[in-house]
C-alpha cells in the first residue's frame, strides 16, 4: 500500500489498484468509501439512462476481490448485477451500458 499515493491517482487507476491491494480501511469484502463512490458515480448514471426507476442500493465485492456486485432495487424487487472487477475498470462507458443492459434484459426488466 505504501508504494502508492492513492489520493493522487485517477478514479479508474484507483479502482485498479484497489483490486489487488484494497484501499486503507478495506476488509477483504468491504470497499472503502472512496472506491464505492468511484464505482457508484460510474454505474448510477448508466442505470438511470437504462431505466430511471432503478435505485442504486449497494456495491458488493467477493472475498477474492474479483467480482463486483451492484445491488439495485426496482419497486420492491432487488436486483444484483455482476461484473468482473478488471473488466469493469477496463471497459468503456458504452460497453458498460451494453453489459448492464444485457443483464437486465435476461431478467426481463428491460426490453431489448
Amino acid at each position: 500500500m505504501g508504494r502508492y499515493d492513492l489520493a493522487s491517482v485517477e478514479p479508474r487507476e484507483y479502482l485498479f489498484l484497489c483490486i489487488r491491494t484494497g484501499a486503507p480501511g478495506d476488509s477483504p469484502m468491504q470497499l472503502g468509501p472512496q472506491a464505492k463512490e468511484h464505482i457508484r458515480s460510474r454505474v448510477e448514471p448508466v442505470l438511470q439512462q437504462l431505466d430511471p426507476q432503478l435505485e442504486f442500493i449497494e456495491i458488493l465485492v467477493d472475498s477474492a476481490r474479483r467480482q463486483l456486485g451492484f445491488v439495485l432495487q426496482k419497486d420492491d424487487r432487488p436486483i444484483v448485477l455482476g461484473m468482473d472487477w478488471l473488466i469493469f475498470v477496463a471497459i468503456t462507458e458504452p460497453e458498460l451500458k451494453q453489459n448492464l443492459a444485457t443483464q437486465l434484459e435476461t431478467r426481463g426488466l428491460l426490453r431489448p
Binding site: 442500493i57 449497494e58 456486485g69 420492491d76 424487487r77 455482476g82
Partner: protein
C-alpha cells in the same frame, strides 16, 4: 407431556427383538381377522331379501337358494385360500400372489381394490354400528358423526397399542357375537322344528327367477367380504403360520356359513320382511328370544361386531400398505414399524381417511355399500388366477389337484365379479371401476419417483468433489446478541458474508447503517426497501439474485433466532424464520441454517 400422553394411550415402546412375541394365536387371529367377515351376518341376509323384494314377498323364498349358492362359493374360496396360505407362508395376499404370477399391473389392481375395500370397511361398518346405537338411543342421533369418529379413533388407538393388545381388547365382543348368533340359530331352529313357526309361503319358479337370484346373489356376496383377511395377514400368526392361519380360516368360514345360512333360514321360517326402522336380524332375534335379556344381548353384540369390523381393516390395511411401500409403490414411511411394532403410519392414515369419509358423508355411508363387493371379488379373482399360474409354473406334488381347485375358485369369483359389476354398476360400483385405475396410476408414479430419486442420487456419474465457495446471507432485523452471534458464525464458515436488512415503513436507514458500522463494520450490509411491508419476498429474491451472481457457490442463509424459555412465549413473536426456512426449502444450492440463542427466562 407428549411422551407421557403417548405412553398412556399406546403403551411403552417395544424392542424389535420381541417382534415374534407379538404374533397371534389361532384364537387371537380369529378375533382380529374374523370381525369384518362375521359382521356381514348382520346385513347380508337383509341385502338378499331387499334385492328379491322387487318381485314381491313371494320371491323371498329364493333367499335360501341364494344363500346356499353363496355358501358354496364361500367353501370354494376357503379351500382355494387355504392353498394360498401354504404356497405363500410369507404373506399370500392377493397383491403378492397376483404380482408374482400375473404381473405387476395385476398385483397393483388387486392391491388398489383391497386398499379401497379396507377404507370403506372402516367407514361403513363404524357408521352402521353407530346407526344401530343411535336407533336404540335416539337422543344420540345428532352426534352420529362425532360418535363415528370417536369409534374410529378408539379402534385406531387399540391397534396402535399392538396387534395382540387389540385382539385382547376386542375378544369379548367378537365371541359374544359368535355365541349369541349361534344360540339364535340353534334356538330358532329348535323352536321351528317343534312347530312354533308359521309355514313359509312357497313360490312357483318363473322366467324371472334366474334374474332374481342373480340380483340377490350380487347383493348377498357382501357376506364374503373379509374372507381374504387371513391370507393377507398370514405373517401375523405364530408358527407354523400356514397351519395356524389355515385352521383360523376354516373356523371363521364354518362360523360364518352356520350363522349366514341359519339366519337366512330363520328369516324364511319366521317370514321376516325387511322394513324401515328394524333390521332383519333384530326381527328374527325378537321372534326367537322375545324382547327379553337375550334379545338385548344379541343387539348389543351386533352393534359391537359392526363397529369392530373396522378392526380387521386396521390389521389388513397397514400390512398391505407396508408390502406396497416395501416395493416402493407407496411412500416408504408406511413400511416403518412404530413404538409397538405395528405399522403405525398405516394405522394412522387409515384412521384419518376413514374419519374424513364419515365426516364428508355426515355418517350416512350406506350409499358406499355397493362399492364394497366389487373390489373384494376382483382381488379374489386375481388371487385365485394367480394361484392357477403358480401351480402351472412350479408343478409341485399334487399340482393338478391344487390347480383345479384354484381354477374353480377363480372361475366362481370372476362370475361373481361380473355379476356384481352388472347389477351394482349404476348403484355406485362405477366409482370403484374409476378409482382402481387411478390408484394403479398413483402407485406407478410413486415408484417412478423412487426410481428417479435413485438414479439422481446414484454415484454412477459422480465426480470427486471440487472445492466450492460459500456465500453466506444473514437476514438481520436489528442489531443484538442473536444477530451478532449469527454474523460470527457466518464468518466462521465463509469469507463471503452479506448482511441483509429489509427496511419496513421507511425506518431510519442511516441510523441503522451507523450502528451496523459500529458493531459489525467488516460485514457488508445491504438495506432493501420494502414499500409493501413484505419481508419474505425481498429476502427470497435477494437470495435468488446472489445465487445467480455466484452460480458456482453454495449459498447459505444463516437465520438468527432465539428460543423462548416457555413454549407459550412463541405466541408473542412472529415466525419469520420458520416462514423463510419453509420458503427456501425448494431453492436449489441454498442451505438454510439457524443460529439459536436460548433465552433464560
Amino acid at each position: 407431556m407428549w411422551r407421557w400422553l403417548k405412553q398412556l394411550l399406546i403403551g411403552r415402546p417395544l424392542e424389535t427383538a420381541v417382534l415374534h412375541e407379538q404374533r397371534l394365536s389361532k384364537k387371537a387371529g380369529l378375533v382380529v381377522f374374523s370381525s369384518d367377515n362375521l359382521s356381514s351376518v348382520a346385513y347380508a341376509t337383509e341385502e338378499i331379501l331387499l334385492a328379491l323384494m322387487i318381485a314381491g314377498t313371494a320371491a323371498l323364498t329364493l333367499s335360501l337358494p341364494t344363500a346356499i349358492i353363496i355358501t358354496v362359493l364361500l367353501v370354494i374360496l376357503v379351500f382355494s385360500y387355504s392353498q394360498t396360505l401354504y404356497a405363500y407362508p410369507s404373506g399370500g395376499g392377493a397383491y403378492t400372489v397376483a404380482k408374482e404370477n400375473l404381473g405387476v399391473t395385476a398385483g397393483l389392481v388387486a392391491g388398489a381394490a383391497l386398499l379401497i375395500d379396507y377404507v370403506l370397511t372402516v367407514s361403513v361398518s363404524v357408521a352402521a354400528g353407530i346407526a344401530a346405537i343411535t336407533s336404540a338411543v335416539p337422543a344420540l342421533y345428532p352426534y352420529s358423526v362425532q360418535l363415528c369418529v370417536a369409534a374410529i379413533v378408539f379402534v385406531m388407538l387399540a391397534n396402535l397399542r399392538g396387534v395382540r393388545e387389540s385382539a385382547t381388547i376386542f375378544a369379548v365382543p367378537v365371541f359374544l357375537f359368535i355365541g349369541s348368533g349361534l344360540l339364535l340359530v340353534f334356538v330358532g331352529i329348535g323352536k321351528s322344528l317343534s312347530g312354533g313357526h308359521p309355514e313359509p309361503v312357497s313360490s312357483a319358479w318363473t322366467a324371472g327367477t334366474a334374474y332374481l337370484i342373480v340380483r340377490a346373489f350380487a347383493s348377498g356376496c357382501a357376506a364374503l367380504t373379509g374372507v381374504e383377511a387371513v391370507a393377507n395377514g398370514v405373517q401375523a400368526f405364530k408358527p407354523p403360520v400356514s397351519r395356524n392361519a389355515s385352521i383360523t380360516l376354516y373356523t371363521m368360514a364354518a362360523i360364518l356359513g352356520a350363522l349366514f345360512l341359519g339366519v337366512t333360514l330363520l328369516s324364511r321360517w319366521y317370514q321376516v320382511v325387511p322394513r324401515e326402522g328394524e333390521t332383519v336380524l333384530s326381527q328374527i332375534a325378537r321372534n326367537v328370544f322375545g324382547s327379553g335379556f337375550m334379545y338385548f344381548v344379541m343387539q348389543i353384540a351386533t352393534m359391537a361386531i359392526l363397529v369392530l369390523a373396522a378392526n380387521t381393516s386396521f390389521a389388513g390395511f397397514p400390512r398391505l400398505s407396508s408390502v406396497l411401500a416395501g416395493d416402493r409403490f407407496l411412500p416408504r414411511q408406511l413400511a416403518n414399524r412404530g413404538d409397538r411394532l405395528v405399522f403405525s403410519n398405516g394405522i394412522l392414515f387409515l384412521g384419518v381417511v376413514a374419519s374424513l369419509l364419515v365426516i364428508a358423508f355426515q355418517g350416512k355411508v350406506h350409499r358406499l355399500i355397493p362399492l364394497y363387493a366389487i373390489g373384494v371379488f376382483l382381488s379374489f379373482t386375481l388371487s385365485q388366477a394367480g394361484m392357477v399360474a403358480h401351480w402351472w409354473r412350479h408343478r409341485e406334488a399334487g399340482w393338478r389337484r391344487h390347480m383345479v381347485l384354484n381354477a374353480v375358485g377363480a372361475t366362481a369369483t370372476s362370475v361373481a365379479v361380473l355379476d356384481i359389476a352388472f347389477v351394482k354398476f349404476l348403484h355406485g360400483a362405477w366409482v370403484v371401476v374409476i378409482a382402481i385405475p387411478l390408484f394403479v396410476y398413483a402407485f406407478r408414479r410413486v415408484r417412478l419417483h423412487y426410481f428417479l430419486l435413485g438414479t439422481q442420487l446414484s454415484l454412477g456419474d459422480y465426480e470427486k468433489p471440487k472445492p466450492r465457495r460459500n456465500t453466506v446471507v444473514v437476514p438481520v432485523a436489528d442489531i443484538n446478541k442473536v444477530v451478532l452471534a449469527a454474523i460470527e458464525y457466518a464468518h466462521s464458515i465463509s469469507a463471503d458474508v452479506i448482511a441483509l436488512r429489509v427496511n419496513l415503513d421507511h425506518a431510519d436507514r442511516r441510523e441503522f447503517e451507523r450502528r451496523w458500522q459500529e458493531w459489525a463494520g467488516d460485514t457488508p450490509l445491504v438495506v432493501l426497501n420494502s414499500p409493501y411491508r413484505s419481508i419474505l419476498r425481498p429476502v427470497l429474491q435477494f437470495v435468488e439474485e446472489i445465487s445467480r451472481l455466484r452460480p458456482e457457490d453454495v449459498i447459505t442463509v444463516v437465520l438468527p433466532e432465539f428460543v423462548p424459555a416457555r413454549w407459550w412465549h412463541e405466541l408473542m413473536h412472529n415466525q419469520t424464520g420458520l416462514l423463510l426456512r419453509s420458503a427456501l426449502l425448494f431453492k436449489p444450492r441454498v442451505v438454510v441454517t439457524s443460529v439459536r440463542h436460548h433465552l433464560a427466562r
